[in-house]
């Protein structure tokens, strides 16, 4: 066994493979398929202060090597999570991390405060990059100022590991990354989905009820890798990379580009066992090249 342990701030992960928010439910949905204990962590569904019904159907459209979604953060709110979901998932042998979303800075702060109290919630991921909600969401992630502001305010109430998830829908992602680093984020995760759109040419209607939605899957991987590499050279905090990861090769690509850990998203839908296969694949790769620890190749693309 190669060394797979990595650290995100103070948070020790048994391996660098986690699952992406909104693609893995609360973990329970995958318990039939895999041993969740084999994962470095699980990012649960985007959670907001108040319950949300999400957007109208249709919420998804397939696209070449990817998909658009417009779920719109359907969830039962943070109180429901704390009372009903947390007790069920808290004893999984992995880190369960909540993805926190909001429409105002106050929302984020209030939500984060409630999660800070939970013993087995070692970290949160601030989703300042959701393209599927009208108010806030992505807007926070596309301006350096507001990204910094929400990080600053949440930092005050959340003493544990604070991960900020960046939007790729920007001219310069490093600027935002530096902004949130300066405000005390322990790590950044990237990328969230790209704003995209698809039209049914026969009905002449948009394929999503919301017209635009978030693009994910292998199609976005080359852009996501580039952004991880740019951010790696811009900040000192660790990066959690994602965008189209399907197999260990993709995961290694992100790690070489500068990601300390990765999240598997959309591909879980196609192969619900993909994440654990990736853990094994990374291990085999490191052994094959006699690399003692995965940390030794983070950002080590040879240029």
């Amino acid at each position: 066994m190669a060394g797979l342990e990595v650290y995100i701030g103070d948070l020790r992960l048994k391996n660098p493979v986690m699952t992406a928010s909104g693609t893995f439910g609360y973990g329970t949905e995958y318990a039939d398929f895999i041993d969740l204990g084999r994962l470095g962590g699980v990012f649960v569904k985007g959670t907001t202060l108040a319950p949300r019904q999400g957007n109208d159907y249709p919420r998804m459209a397939e696209t070449p090597s990817g998909m658009l979604n417009a779920v719109g953060l359907q969830n039962k709110g943070v109180d429901y999570f704390v009372e009903h979901l947390y007790p069920v998932i808290k004893d999984y042998d992995t880190h369960m991390i909540v993805n926190v979303s909001g429409s105002t800075v106050e929302d984020y702060v209030a939500c984060a405060e409630k999660l800070a109290d939970l013993d087995k919630m070692p970290a949160i991921e601030l989703n300042i990059s959701c393209p599927n909600v009208k108010e806030g969401g992505m807007a926070f992630g596309t301006s350096c100022q507001s990204a910094a502001q929400v990080t600053r305010e949440v930092r005050k109430v959340f003493p544990k590991t604070l991960i900020v998830k960046l939007s790729p829908n920007v001219t310069d992602v490093t600027e935002i990354a530096r902004g949130v680093e300066n405000e005390g984020a322990d790590a950044v995760s990237l990328v969230n989905t790209f704003l995209g759109m698809a039209i049914d040419v026969e009905s002449r209607r948009p394929k999503l009820s919301t017209i635009t939605g978030g693009l994910s899957g292998p199609c976005i991987k080359p852009i996501a890798i580039r952004m991880v590499w740019e951010v790696f050279h811009a900040v000192k905090i660790p990066i959690i990379g994602m965008g189209g990861i399907c197999n260990w090769q993709d995961a290694i690509e992100f790690i070489l580009a500068g990601a300390t850990a990765v999240q598997v998203g959309t591909y879980n839908f196609i192969d619900p066992t993909a994440s654990v296969k990736i853990v094994d694949g990374i291990n085999d790769y490191l052994e094959r090249y006699h690399i003692a620890s995965v940390n030794d190749i983070v950002g080590k693309m040879i240029v």
Binding site: G22, Y30, F33, P58, M60, M67, N69
Partner: protein, 255 residues
């Protein structure tokens, strides 16, 4: 739920559009108990436009042969590719998924209405009902005679009524125009088919105070409750069709 490789035992074109594919686990796995209304998610290998799996109803389970039957209509690239699979090839499935039609706990008259390839789950449902001692009646609709699929299979489990749009088989018109709906009185209607048909059936059931369940075919990304893409707006809010459906009591729907 599990992810499993199946081997194609046979792939038969029933007409120019529909294929009946029979698959069995590639290893020595014994099929688990499955319920009518449940479905599988088929991995369609490696096409850029068929990135996601395709949801297909369980048409029938042959316990003796350890086989699942899938009845598939070619409507796009995914189903085209599925229908081009050869005997002996591997088909990877996630299964069994979803809830099921409510199996009769009490006596009564049951009508199972299917339109087009929506007849698929009705065969397995009919079998299960007959096994539990209730003989269902079937009302199947299609464009023309060749679109009424698996007739002899259906007749094994109950009386069969048919409509075709061109009148080439059974009564002419849509299922909801069939005379049996005027002549007989049913206690339960179960339906699956194109949405306009199911909405018409639901209207009939509402008007006649008949219990009615419908199987929805919302677009799905995962099929097992992880993505929240497949929701239907119900009286309980937005509900996943893949886990709390695909079968809904029409009282829950805004139809």
């Amino acid at each position: 739920m599990q992810v499993l490789d199946f081997t194609v035992r046979s792939n038969e074109a029933l007409n120019d559009q529909n294929h009946l594919i029979k698959v069995a686990p590639s290893g020595n796995e014994i099929l688990p108990e499955m319920q009518p209304g449940q479905f599988v998610q088929i991995l369609v290998d490696n096409s850029p436009h068929v990135f996601l799996r395709r949801p297909i109803s369980i048409n029938f389970v042959d316990k003796e042969k350890n086989e699942i039957w899938l009845l598939i209509q070619k409507i796009g690239e995914g189903t085209e590719k599925i229908c081009s699979i050869n005997e002996g090839e591997i088909m990877n499935l996630i299964y069994p998924l979803g809830n099921s039609f409510t199996l009769p706990e009490r006596n009564g008259k049951y009508l199972l209405i299917g339109g087009g390839v929506g007849t698929a789950p009705m065969l397995f449902l009919g079998k299960k009902m007959k096994e539990s001692g209730i003989e269902p009646e079937f009302l199947l609709g299609g464009r023309s005679a060749k679109d009424i699929l698996q007739r002899t299979d259906f007749e094994r489990y109950g009386t069969l009524y048919c409509t075709t749009e061109d009148g080439s088989f059974g009564e002419k018109g849509f299922v909801t125009h069939h005379s049996v709906l005027k002549e007989k009185k049913y206690d339960f209607i179960y339906t699956c088919g194109p949405k306009p048909m199911m909405v018409a059936v639901a209207k009939y059931a509402h008007e006649h105070g008949i219990e009615c369940e419908a199987s929805l075919e919302n677009l799905m990304a995962c099929g097992f409750g992880a993505c929240l893409c497949c929701v239907e707006k119900t009286v309980r809010g937005n509900i996943c069709t893949c886990t709390e459906g695909p079968v809904f009591n029409i009282k829950e729907l805004f139809w």
